[in-house]
Symmetry: C2
Subunit: 192 residues, 2 copies
DNA sequence: GTCTATATTACGATAGAC
DNA sequence: GTCTATCGTAATATAGAC
């Protein structure tokens, strides 16, 4: 509400993404956005072509962050299990750093072209991580009693659930959360 | 599409919940439901008062399933870590048994009274499980290097993620999936 | 860049016939 | 129990003034 200094597409996006996450993309009207941004509905169309462009910008930013991880040295060099731990930790970190954008990405349904594109790109990312699990299993570093496909899904389930509850504060707990994810995923809850 | 034998509220609900999960609740219009059910929009209003009643019926069914677990003997008797494992497995099982209903519950936003009620009830369930983790930690059965609050959230993240990918087939894999969740949550991915 | 006013379509829900 | 027709509202988006 009530930000009157002029907007850029990116500053408007920040407002829009927050509202999208609160109400859901489909549950958010241009009227809701206009109220939250403190400008009229029609002014929004000066900055972006429409509601779907806001969604496209948001999920693009999230996907860029995620694919960036796979290009980092820690994701490319070394034993598969070590690369997998690295990608797990970095995915958790990127998810928290780009929290609202990734949250929106993870909740996309596939009702529009933009949403279907986002889903397809997200599947690509997941498959590249699945490949890491497969290699780690082949190298004998994963428990043999859990299916690799299933493990991939549960791993992502745990990481992605961060968007459901993590809220940044001063004295940010991002490294601790990322470490806890890695620890629980690879060592489990129970004392050994 | 094209089911012409007359509906009951429950058979109509099954159709509606499927569409809600495909398109999102807010992304689903009464027109979408009418097409999927093979009857006209106005006929839907003969069976239910409106769209929100369908949502209420669906999330009620999901919540009944979840709270039922906490009343079972395995969730009430024995050491806390054993009860926690039991609840973890049973939650995964109920989630798969009532898949579309729980899926809808987990995606509710809070835009209407019905949605806010569902969110509040769900928080109650989560808090009862969190209590189990707290007890298990006090009894020394949980790793000391992960915060209990954080562990609760990651545990639910893993369990709840089942709705994102599990699809029932003939020769259902429900027991295997539930076992994998328990194994990964309590023992982790890495060989020990 | 922002506004008011408005075009146009889609939505949830109801009326009343069969 | 189902239908067609329609009401009233809210949605996305545009036109044109300032």
């Amino acid at each position: 509400m009530a930000r009157r200094d002029t907007y850029t597409p990116d500053t408007l996006l920040a407002v829009a993404v927050r509202v999208f996450n609160e109400r859901g993309y489909d549950g958010t009207s241009m009227e809701h956005l206009s109220k939250a941004a403190g400008i009229s509905k029609s002014s929004i169309y000066h900055h972006v072509r429409g509601k779907e462009e806001l969604l496209r910008r948001a999920v693009s930013r999230a996907l860029d962050g995620l694919f960036g991880i796979l290009a980092e040295p820690g994701a490319r060099d070394g034993r598969a299990i070590e690369r997998l731990e690295y990608v797990t930790r970095r995915t958790a970190e990127v998810l928290m750093a780009e929290l609202p954008y990734v949250t929106l990405l993870l909740r996309v349904h596939g009702n529009t072209d933009t949403e279907r594109w986002a889903l397809a790109r997200r599947r690509e990312f997941d498959q590249q991580v699945a490949e890491l699990l497969k290699q780690a299993a082949a190298e004998g570093d994963l428990r043999a009693d859990i299916d690799v496909r299933l493990a991939t899904r549960l791993l992502f389930g745990m990481i992605n659930s961060i968007v459901e509850w993590y809220r940044p504060e001063r004295g940010s707990a991002e490294p601790e959360v990322a470490a806890a994810v890695v620890r629980m995923a690879f060592a489990g809850l129970r004392v050994t």
